[in-house]
Symmetry: C2
Subunit: 332 residues, 2 copies
């Protein structure tokens, strides 16, 4: 693969940021998005109308399409960056072969339909060999990529050569990439962090302060460590940027949708009314259910008091104040 | 020791917060502070004039004194909470025996004169046996204790029984205490975190964003792990609240003196002018020198690129922008 072709699937801020990174290195970048309006707007105005609109594209670099099959046919390497809630319906439209493609997930969540990580889903439902599946992890707010602020990414693939190819094409002055072979651990960590961001939001909404937030994050990373160990035991440093850094950038972000959602719950909104207030469902909402369910199926369940607490609040209608009163006794 | 007596040494915000915690459990708390004015003010107005002035004390609970020897004579357990820069001059006034006292350090720093942690200093200069020396660690902003916001403390002593006695008398509805026997590791971590807060401030001053801050903290905790391992090898979970939580509460605090100091340096102030702008020298300034010097004396030096970078900027007059350009290549 001398010069592989890349296609990005998705029209949101993270997809837009990834297209920007690739444009630093490639003559042409394939880009699928659902919205005809957005594609027309980008062609005319050189920027995405709804996300990271400050990012100017050279449209001659973009192979834009509202047909997912066209971009799949075009690209050797496909980067999926749509919210996990929409990936199922997008994949329903695919009738082009995914054989021989390298599939990279930039989706930080579990597919609600299958309860699976995206990599796992592609492996089982599309028979993509694991060595051709990868994941992109932060810590990375798309908004800072738009501003070209220094950010570090980790690209994980079972086959390191593939991770290196992707890393090479995302790297630039302001993007540093490292590679890893812990695709399962990194994808889980990226998913779980949204649950902890909800927990941080609930705590804030309930009136807990910065001292407690630090304790919560310190317990969260230990919980992630136990969870990914029980999902896939291997040697990993949980304090690497892809795990701890990703948790921190989300858990400390006041702009995180997950944290905002949690904050509303903590302040007394019902789950339904909090969801109605937000234009997009917070990833962590689904993740709390899937992560809890998955943990229950394990022979050796990980101890996850924070996930359990968020799950009780979001899915069992328990009162946040009471649940946290119990939770704080389990933290240290 | 059925009901031990406690004395707090110091008049700043952390000392004031500790006195408040003890007042929840004790009939009388000894409290030494240098300022005659402050003592008079507390007696008259029931609050510290300069720090945490919202905290109301019942003055009949306080045994206040401007004579350090009086409080030392009174208390079985002495909690030192003065900035490390002043501890030397305070100790010069001590002519009361410290024998049989339990000495607890709430000082997050290294004594500039001896280059030693406080516990180490008491052990070598005053022959206090190690089992009677302990340390109180956060994550804990004193300001949140004033607001009675839930906070977790870790009390470390070589002799666990002593840690438990102190923990018992600091605990309340809003203070949860755990104990540890890693006094050296926790005291180092509490000291080093101020250097990373300076680094975070410099990064912010130079224009780095939240993505980089998360990478910096993720690298910082790994650096702390290596440093304390080379200082004192033992089994510890570096992600416990006393290490990681304490790093986060400081490194993410926009009110941290260390972070503010770093921010000024990053924005182009010289070290001298930044220090002149601040009423109190940031602990991390001394810590950067002591920690670096101590590391140099070790047979197996820990790899500490962040401490080295801060040291180069603060003590070698190197340009922050250039030093960080080199530093970012060493992080991942």
């Amino acid at each position: 693969m001398e010069q592989p072709t890349f296609g990005v699937i998705g029209g949101g801020s993270w997809a837009t940021a990834i297209v920007k990174m690739l444009c630093e290195n490639l003559e042409t970048v394939g880009w699928y998005m659902r919205s005809v309006y957005a594609v027309e707007h980008i062609k005319r105005e050189q920027h995405n109308p709804s996300y990271l609109s400050s990012v100017e594209f050279k449209t001659e670099q973009l192979k834009l399409s509202t047909d997912i099959n066209e971009i799949i046919a075009y690209a050797d390497i496909l980067i999926f960056a749509v919210p996990s809630a929409f990936i199922g319906s997008e994949l329903n439209n695919v009738n082009t072969s995914l054989e021989h493609k390298i599939i990279i997930s930039a989706i930080k969540g579990i597919m609600p339909e299958s309860g699976k990580l995206l990599g796992d889903h592609f492996n089982t439902a599309y028979h993509i060999p694991l060595e051709n599946i990868g994941v992109i992890a932060g810590p990375c707010h798309a908004e800072e990529v738009a501003l070209e602020r220094l950010s570090y990414l980790t690209i994980a693939c079972a086959k390191e050569k593939n991770a290196k190819i992707v890393a090479k094409h995302l790297s630039s002055d302001y993007i540093k990439c490292t590679t890893s072979d812990d695709i399962i651990g990194i994808e889980y960590a990226a998913t779980l962090k949204n649950i902890y961001a909800i927990a941080a939001g609930i705590a804030h909404g309930l009136g807990y302060g910065d001292n407690f937030q630090a304790v919560l994050m310190s317990n969260a990373i230990r919980e992630i460590k136990r969870y990914v160990k029980s999902a896939h035991k291997m040697k990993r440093d949980i304090n690497s940027s892809a795990y701890l850094g990703d948790l921190l950038v989300t858990g400390y972000s006041v702009f995180s949708r997950n944290r905002m959602f949690g904050n509303m719950i903590g302040k007394g909104y019902t789950v339904k009314s909090a969801q109605m207030e937000m234009s997009m469902v917070a990833e962590g909402y689904y993740a709390a259910k899937s992560a809890k369910d998955l943990n229950e199926t394990r022979k050796k369940k990980a101890k996850t008091p924070i996930i359990d607490a968020v799950h009780e609040i979001l899915y069992k209608g328990k009162e946040p104040k009471k649940v946290f009163k119990k939770l704080i006794e389990q933290l240290d």
